[in-house]
Subunit: 195 residues, 2 copies
């Protein structure tokens, strides 16, 4: 029950992820091979792929952990979906949740810079957002309106967080950006139907 095995598994998982991100940040995603990472974490290559299905997931598993968050928010909400999602995003801004882009910790910025400027990572990130969209569409009912709304919500989240990240990464403190971020988020969500 305690899981000595689980602890070792967790250790290996973390060792791989940390070694990978450190190497990627230092030398760039494409300049580091999975063999390098496996060596750095003292495991073999097949073992690495048992922990992370793709090289990209060594970086993105942190974000992937938030999978289907929008769908869950809608399912758990007592208010209309768009309103719940809007409030959830605004709460993320207040909390400086990295997923909103409004976080200026150097490590977080470097992490997102890696993700956004590496095509392979940006592509896989988009796949995750697609999953999110599908789950959200299902939570909103599988009809045309639900599909459209899901697609547009995900688009809004993506555009807003990318903009916030760009501004903060350019040097503006998150606290300075906050008010504009709120205004932009409200504008964007107001443009959605059933707002």
């Amino acid at each position: 029950m305690t899981g000595l095995r689980e602890r070792k598994k967790q250790q290996t998982h973390d060792a791989l992820s940390e070694a990978a991100i450190a190497l990627f940040l230092a030398r760039g995603f494409d300049e580091v091979s999975v063999t390098d990472i496996a060596e750095a974490a003292n495991v073999s290559k097949p073992t690495l792929f048992k922990y992370f299905p793709t090289k990209q997931d060594l970086v993105l598993h942190r974000i992937a952990d938030h999978r289907h968050e929008s769908a869950r928010v809608v399912a758990a909400a007592a208010v209309p979906p768009v309103r719940a999602l809007r409030e959830h995003f605004l709460a993320g801004l207040v909390a400086r949740d990295p997923i909103t882009g409004l976080n200026d910790h150097p490590q977080v910025l470097a992490y997102y810079r890696l993700v956004f400027t590496t095509p392979a990572l940006a592509t896989r990130l988009h796949q995750f957002m697609d999953d999110d969209e599908r789950a959200l569409a299902a939570a909103l009912g599988g009809d045309l309106a639900g599909e459209l709304l899901a697609a547009q919500v995900v688009s809004v989240q993506r555009v807003l967080s990318r903009r916030n990240w760009a501004v903060v990464d350019a040097g503006q403190p998150a606290d300075d950006r906050y008010l504009d971020a709120v205004t932009e988020a409200e504008t964007a969500f107001d443009g959605l139907p059933l707002g």
Copy 2:
């Protein structure tokens, strides 16, 4: 000037694309190697990759040829952007343009079934739509409103054409689907700002 060389190039290009699609349709995208395709077209593997940068592009170059179409429509239009895009999509429905999903030719259906049910192809298709979105955002002005509108237009196009394809692929003739397709398109575009 006549370009005997160009003709041969075109020939090789078409031979590769047609061999690839025929093999993919017969055996599935993942069950055919690029070596198989190169052999079928009587060229070497590096030559294949000089014509098509990736295996996926052997299939998707047809769609990729329509790149930045939305941006071009907006740039060339004399009416407001959303209106121009709406009319362009409706004209596509009338013309049974495969990109709208409203085309029931067996070859077209099989082609899109291949694209939509093969993860690697769907992913690369999404990359193309991302390019489209960026170009459209630029054509609409690089500001927040432009970025949001571009993202939502691309989402609408994607959702509409996927729905049309799904219905037609399930067996409904394109002509029977037409009226619903128009209604859904109008509904979707009406939900966009500045409609």
